[in-house]
């Protein structure tokens, strides 16, 4: 049921990501990017747009026939869980790769790397949950990329705010205990998004 059939598009996403990061590296040649706040902000903006791009493929690339086929043989609840799982994995891989290349080219300013990685994992799961839902909504209206961004970006604000705060703390060398409440908030957001998707998707799915 997973959709790793489109290997070409996956390679495309990774290439786009590396391109973005290299471009920001080029943009910062000559000026030193030593300020952690600035470093952090740039990384999250890159990750945000890359996750939008990676998830936006998930419904858009479905041809009409396959959507109908899926519709007839699967329970929508199973379908959304499968899609969520796939997108979470995808965004996770994309974000971790992004972090790796960002550290490679621009420099790694993070002091507490395990915390940073855990934060990226949790945040990308929540990203993909919200984006899966909004992409699903947009796909019902010939999902244009603009519509996906317009619908999802305001919904991502709270998430971005928490995730950026944790990652800044991690970059400054905070411990797990130091941002336990933020991590819990992020986890709770994850659970909430998954429950909402699970409850609302069947309504979206029926024609």
């Amino acid at each position: 049921m997973l959709e790793f059939r489109q290997r070409a598009s996956f390679a495309g996403i990774i290439l786009y990501l590396v391109g973005c990061i290299y471009l920001s590296y080029l943009a910062f040649i000559g000026s030193e990017l030593k300020d952690r706040g600035f470093w952090n902000a740039l990384l999250w903006i890159i990750l945000l747009f890359n996750s939008i791009i990676s998830v936006s493929k998930s419904f858009a690339s479905e041809v009409k026939g396959r959507a109908l086929y899926n519709y007839t043989i699967y329970d929508p609840r199973h379908l959304i869980l499968a899609k969520l799982f796939y997108n979470m994995l995808l965004v996770l891989v994309v974000s971790l790769t992004g972090f790796f290349f960002y550290g490679w080219f621009i420099g790694n300013l993070v002091k507490n790397i395990p915390l940073f990685v855990v934060n990226i994992c949790l945040a990308s799961m929540a990203f993909s949950g919200i984006l899966t839902m909004t992409t699903g909504i947009a796909s019902k209206i010939n999902g244009s990329f603009t519509l996906i961004s317009v619908l999802s970006i305001p919904l991502l604000f709270p998430l971005m705010l928490i995730a950026m705060r944790i990652s800044l703390l991690a970059a400054l060398g905070s411990s797990f205990a130091g941002c336990a409440q933020y991590l819990m908030a992020l986890g709770a957001l994850n659970v909430m998004v998954i429950v909402l998707c699970y409850l609302l998707f069947p309504y979206l799915w029926k024609e």
Binding site: I137, P154, F157, P158, L161, A185, Y203, L204
Partner: protein, 221 residues
Amino acid sequence: MKNWWKILGVLLVLYSIIGGFLIPVPAVNRVSESIRNLYFHVPMWFAMIVLATISVIYSVIALSKSSEDADIKSSQSASAAIPFALIGLITGSIWAKFTWGNFWTNDPKLNGVAASLLIYLAYFVLRSSIADEQKKARISSIYNIFAYVMMIVFILIIPRFVDSLHPGNGGNMAFGKYDLDNNMRTVFYPACIGWILMGVWFTEIRVRTEKLKRKYLYGND
């Protein structure tokens, strides 16, 4: 007298405007007389949240019973909430200029408001891009529920553990604790109720015009 609540709403709002400017207020450092803005700024947010809640309740009804009526109510109360949000934003912004020094500060509540406004504008973009009425009702209801939950998280939960300049957060005491004296309460609570009633009334008018519009466009159905 089935319209008693409209009259009550108008009277309460009038009372809060007149009383708001005339009844003496405690002069607190920095805030001083601008505290009168409390009567106008805060009720806007209460009215907006109440309208958004009405909207999401009708969205749930519209989704579970696929009723057109509930969808009209839901979308119209969402659109009635927007002016309240804008006025709340403007009054808040002016107030912030005089007390905190800037029109816009990095504050979780301000961020939350910016996000909610964008969410509701996105909701209307979504509605306007679907032609079919039933599909419009279904899809926009789904988005509305999803968005409402995220908005509540943003404006009620996040400010709890992020420092805010607003009273009641991050070491600032709530107004109620020290300077919302009884004089102010007699204006503040009626103002909240009055503006909420006005909001409901606006919504009702919008619902009626929308229904008439549809009746005119599609004939009797």
